[in-house]
Amino acid sequence: MKKIIFILAMAILVFACKTETKKAEDKQQQVESKTETPLLALGEFETKAGDFVNKEVKIQGIVDHVCKHSGKKLLVVTDDGKVHITSDTRFNDELQGSEVSLTGIVLEERIDEAYCLKMEEDNIKSHSEGKSNKDQFDQKKEHIQQYRDQMKAESIDYISSYSLQYVSHTEIK
């Protein structure tokens, strides 16, 4: 009996030490990740995101919208800016209206004339197949025109649009 108690005590001791070490390691990792992942304010996301393409950044804001179709897209906003988030897994609808601290990888999408033509083609196809109504069709058309106007006004070949590939998030209560 004594032997069993001794073995059990030793096992608990070893387990406790291991957990402590793991906790310490986790803490260290957290500190490291905190120092490594830069926080971008949404107000300056569009201007600064270009420096972090394919790198992890952290943002903070309110979830304005969870995509009702796929459930895998979020729109995170503040008074000063917004950013679109895409994910491989679905988000919970209840996230809408919550303030979150979110980590993601910056993705760059280049919008040029070829992209506009493709969008135009998709818009016509989607409308002709009844997948979008007249309002959605007109909105998209206007959106594409805005891209063209911007490229022309700024004499540039493409516009960079930045979004985030979701990594993780925590809700701020």
């Binding site: 309110i62 304005d64 009702k68 179709h69 459930g71 906003v77 503040t78 008074d79 679905r90 609808d93 209840e94 809408q96 209206g97 919550s98 303030e99 009844g130 997948k131 979008s132 109504n133």
Partner: protein
């Protein structure tokens, strides 16, 4: 052949019983999600318009003012967060996915209340594979559908079977998707 027919019937019948509930789940959610552009399959949306004279400009007392507005149109207990999408609008988020938009200049209030659609919310939730265990279960269900198709070939003999009427139906069922592929792909 007799043995194959017997086992086809047994498997078709018993696995069929087992998956009655799952078939209804996927059937209902399939119809619901097929029409995403026509409706919101998870929530019914009630829009209410009203007006307010409460000052909702971004001042030090904004949160109190938002709560006073919510007392009028809903309940302050449902407040979640708020922000300004542009200079003349405030958006207030409520618990459960509802939200309120107020035009700061005119005082027009547009409240959008979301209510979960009973049954549809739950079946759609399952359709979207909420976790890994459900993924396995739904894989099993999908495999069973293939098994149902195969066993149905051997279940009935005679003119109502695959050599008669059943064969015509089978061909029609294969032809329709093929036609769609030829026309639209």
């Amino acid at each position: 052949m007799k043995k194959l027919r017997k086992w086809s019937r047994i498997l078709h019948r018993d696995i069929g019983y087992f998956f009655i509930g799952t078939t209804i789940i996927y059937g209902l959610s399939g119809i619901a999600l097929n029409h995403l552009s026509d409706w919101n399959p998870n929530y019914s949306i009630l829009v209410k318009h009203s007006s307010t004279s409460i000052n909702l400009e971004n001042t030090a007392t904004i949160k109190d003012n938002v709560l006073i507005l919510l007392d009028d149109i809903d309940s302050r207990k449902n407040y979640k967060k708020h922000y300004y999408p542009n200079r003349k609008t405030i958006k207030i988020f409520l618990k459960g996915g509802s939200s309120v938009l107020v035009n700061l200049k005119s005082g027009d209030v547009r409240a959008e209340y979301l209510k979960k659609r009973p049954v549809f919310y739950e079946v759609n939730f399952l359709h979207y594979n909420p976790n890994r265990i459900w993924t396995w279960f739904s894989d099993l269900f999908s495999a069973s559908l293939i098994l149902f198709a195969i066993t149905s070939i051997f279940m009935v003999k005679g003119k109502k079977g695959i050599n008669g009427r059943g064969g015509i139906y089978t061909l029609l069922g294969i032809l329709i998707p093929l036609l769609f592929l030829i026309i639209y792909l």
